[in-house]
């Protein structure tokens, strides 16, 4: 199948060139005939099964880098840095025009990026940054996790509660999402006298673990009025524990629920008023990349626009538009 496509594409190219030559000879106009040439992109991503975020991200990439949009895209998925690097080498051999990378690890990329540069292949990083010289890539499109955290925390502050007693459920320790989202909250709690942390533990993105943590807090009889969960799944687990103990939550209720990632079902919880706030972690980098390839990079690091949704203002359209 792939071979067939390749054959088709190359014969098309030959035909186009022949026409182009004829055209040139003929009128000297219509040089655009060669513009049909597809841009070859090699996309290296993490396994789409990793999370809903990644699934949405992969879908978005596949939807954007199509032949209709002028691309010939090859995909490679791995959660392992070495495998990704090997795939990058293969793409370089295949002589792609652009290498789009969401790196599993931050280090070890220098060598292969040098190779790419020598071969004249342009590299665009998305979602994840790496430790390499900025010369080695065109642009890096990332989310600013700290900004996501700050947005959520400032929204929380705007609720003007007399006292903030927060159950803080963290993601896998050391992940960039955890560092960014925890950092914003930690800073705020340290600065404000009426903000306090009831418990701060990692549920490693797992809703069952989050449920157990909140359960333990409830069982020990401590009071709290905010659950700050660093992703939607953990927020969901926490809410399950609250439901079990008959503690009300959501808009105008006893406990404020904050989640991240904007899963469709999570946004629906906002619409239903069961949760209060959900911070977006924008998985839709494809349009940014498309723009850079077609119009050139304006800056090295592109930070994507990310929203935060409030249960009182969210609309059904938002759910379909931003839900992943």
């Amino acid at each position: 199948m792939k071979k067939l496509v390749k054959l088709l594409v190359s014969s098309l190219l030959v035909a186009a060139m022949a026409i182009g030559v004829c055209a040139c000879a003929g009128s000297g106009k219509g040089g655009n005939g060669g513009g049909n040439k597809l841009i070859k992109v090699g996309i290296i991503n993490n396994d789409p099964n990793e999370s809903g975020y990644r699934t949405a991200n992969d879908k978005d990439m596949k939807a954007t880098f199509t032949e209709a949009n002028g691309y010939e895209a090859s995909f490679y998925y791995s959660l392992k840095n070495e495998e990704q690097i090997a795939a990058a080498q293969k793409f370089i051999q295949d002589d792609v025009d652009y290498l789009l990378i969401s790196a599993a690890g931050t280090s070890g990329w220098d060598g292969v990026l040098e190779q790419a540069k020598k071969a004249g292949i342009k590299v665009i990083l998305f979602d994840r940054t790496i430790d390499a010289s900025e010369d080695l890539y065109e642009a890096s499109i990332v989310s600013d996790m700290a900004k996501e955290g700050e947005q959520a925390v400032s929204w929380l502050a705007s609720q003007n509660l007399p006292e903030y007693k927060i159950v803080h459920i963290q993601g896998v320790m050391g992940s960039s999402a955890q560092i960014g989202r925890s950092g914003a909250l930690d800073t705020k709690v340290a600065a404000e006298s009426n903000w306090s942390i009831v418990t701060q533990q990692t549920a490693e993105w797992s809703e069952e673990t989050a449920q157990q943590i909140v359960q333990a807090v409830i069982d020990s009889g401590e009071s709290f009025n905010v659950i700050y969960a660093e992703n939607d799944n953990m927020a969901k687990g926490a809410v399950a524990a609250l439901d079990k103990a008959n503690i009300s939550h959501g808009v105008g209720k006893d406990v404020i629920i904050i989640g991240f990632d904007c899963n469709s079902w999570a946004l629906q919880e906002l619409v239903d008023g069961n949760w209060n706030y959900d911070g977006q972690c924008n998985p839709f980098q494809a349009s940014y990349i498309d723009d850079i390839i077609k119009n050139g990079a304006k800056q090295k690091v592109v930070i994507m626009e990310e929203k935060g949704f409030d249960a009182t203002t969210i609309t059904a359209d938002d759910v379909t538009k931003y839900g992943i």
Binding site: D47, P48, N49, E50, S51, G52, T55, Q170, M173, T199, Q200, Q201, T202, E204, W205, S206, E207, E208, Q211, Q212, I213, Q215, A216, I218, D219, S220, G221, N233, K236, G237, A240, L242, D243, K244, A245, N246, S248, N263, S264, W265
Partner: protein, 371 residues
Amino acid sequence: MTTSENELSSGNSAKGFFSKLVSNQLFIPLAALLLLVIFNLIADPTFFKISLEPSSTGYFILSGNLISIIDNASELAILAIGMTLVTSASGGQDISVGSAIAIAGSVVLRVVKGYSDGISGGEFAGIMIGAFLLCVAVSALFGAFNGALVAYFKIQPMVATLILFTAGRSIAAWINNNENISINDMRFGYFGNFLPAIPIPTPVFISALCMIIIAVVLKVTNLRLYSQAVGINASSSRLNGINPKTIKLLTFIILGVCVAVCGFIKVSRTSSITYAVIANNIEMDAILAVALGGNNLGGGKFNMTASILGAYVIQFLTTTLYKFKVSSSAISAYKAVVVILLIIMSAPIVRKWITDQKNKRAAARLRKEAA
């Protein structure tokens, strides 16, 4: 020789009790449990408070740390059953159970998602039974796959199960086209939470049922004798008419069924699934439970009660750590300490030291008698 034995046994019945207790396999998990109980009693007696309060569904339910422990340990206890048998017969462990739970859960959701809304109780029960049976069949099949690699291809269990360990979560995601599924039907949550008007969490009943079933199976079949014999000496077992391959395969299939039950409970708890993190690292806890039960991870003799008790000890520890808000990333470090202690206690050199001490005391006694 026989006379000296008689003297010994008659002279030391009181002393014998303690040494008997220490040498009993249940001693380690029981002692660990006692230690945790005492620690909690001293640190905060309210740890043991149990209250009966209405939940958001309006029914009264029991809540408190102890309830949380026996509730949350259910899956682990069920897994410990299968893991103990696999360990006994094959002398190795299945590290794919976490991934296999993801698959089992995904199968359940795949069946239920199409139907869940607004169907009658009878229909719903039918669908749940169908989903459960399919999930058991699929998990048993994956168990058989692991078992076949171990029994027929003679691959070490850890290596053989590495395959499913690696691939399982992707398979789970593939089963549902990598969608995030949420079941909105309240009734789906009954199995992982509470049945209406029953104040005790359902997983407690399910795990109890599993324990009863395995107790009965061990009673009415030769599973214990066969798997122990195979684990200790496969060659000899074969010459006694046992087929070691079949027995190994059987234990893996039983573990597969345990996995299916766990997967079912897990997805019911949250009415959804996250392929990457569901039952994350549960294989290590299950293996730890078997080890904590004092069972030889190299196979052979086993004590099922001790393994199950081990599972509850692990959950007790986990809940205690949550309760005392042990800094987030340190929880695994605490578990590591337990593992280290266990390994040291079961190390031949320590065992030898303990028996040497025993022998020394016995020798001293004999010398005294002789004098």
